[in-house]
Symmetry: C2
Subunit: 189 residues, 2 copies
């Protein structure tokens, strides 16, 4: 009956240009992987549902040297539904972070092992941040708000803020753990 969030994720890609299920699965890694994710096993059935709901149409494109593909195109109904959805109120989602759950019990751990965890984790976020900053560097000017590029730009903006915040927190954790290790080695100061 109604379109799922995954459905809107697919529509938000199809409104930019027609794509196959395979193309959509690739787009779920890059560029929208930072804020939405889905495997092909979830995408193909969802596309069938969207078609049944009249949100998209499909046509088979015959190809030589490669398997044929089904190109999906958004309909006017699909565009209208998406346009309406993007300004509907959004609640704060229930967060689930394994690393914060681990941090909650870090007082139980050997500081040396914890240090390794947070140093490695900082590097993961640092690498992600570097990727985002590289993409950001390619923008010569702010895209106009009515251009699809603004969507990329705005989400990238948040991605950079998110990763910077995470890196800062990992560093803080590492500092805390190092402080503790030094005190433990030197005797209480």
């Amino acid at each position: 009956l109604s379109v799922s969030v995954l459905g809107y994720a697919l529509l938000s890609l199809l409104v930019r240009r027609p794509r196959s299920g395979y193309d959509l699965a690739r787009a779920m890694r890059r560029p929208i992987g930072f804020f939405w994710h889905a495997r092909h096993s979830q995408i193909y059935p969802e596309l069938a549902r969207l078609e049944a709901q009249g949100m998209v149409t499909s046509q088979v494109i015959e190809q030589v040297d490669r398997p044929d593909k089904k190109l999906y195109t958004i309909t006017e109904a699909g565009r209208t539904a998406l346009r309406q959805w993007v300004t509907e109120p959004a609640e704060l989602p229930p967060e689930r972070s394994e690393i914060l759950l681990k941090a909650y019990s870090v007082w139980l751990a050997e500081p040396e092992k914890a240090l390794t965890l947070y140093r490695t984790h900082e590097q993961l976020h640092q690498a992600q941040l570097a990727r985002y900053e590289q993409i950001m560097a390619e923008y010569e000017q702010e895209p106009d708000i009515s251009s699809p590029f603004f969507g990329d730009y705005a989400t990238l903006q948040r991605g950079i803020g998110y990763e910077r915040g995470y890196v800062a927190w990992c560093r803080w954790m590492v500092e805390q753990l190092e402080k503790r290790l030094k005190r433990g080695q030197d005797g209480e100061p």
Copy 2:
């Protein structure tokens, strides 16, 4: 066979003190709601599993004026399993953010409606930030790293950083949308 992440979430609360399923469900809202969440319908079966795995033991406490309750206590095996888990490597989780998905298609929307969405969303994060800052204000000094309070403190630290970053991004979105609205009204500058 092995303990699920939810299982570790429950153990991380039970290692601090014994609790009932009801108590654990409450703790899932406050204090650990920011980084982990579960309903009672998920908690009760998971406690049974943890008991079968020897991670916790239970005893029925008879109460007058209130229903009896089952108090769960962590075992030495449970404590060891948790202690080991907290320093095991954690990967970056696949993110799913509905508000960022909406931002990705904001170029389709009427700017007035989008403004309402991001102003409201900013207020939600601002309110959350205020709650965290109030709790933080109650710490007179940094807890020792080997005290359970350090777990609360470290996760709170990240919570504050997270909310500040989100508030800043929402403001940036609002500014972008306001810029656009003014230009649209005054003619292109």
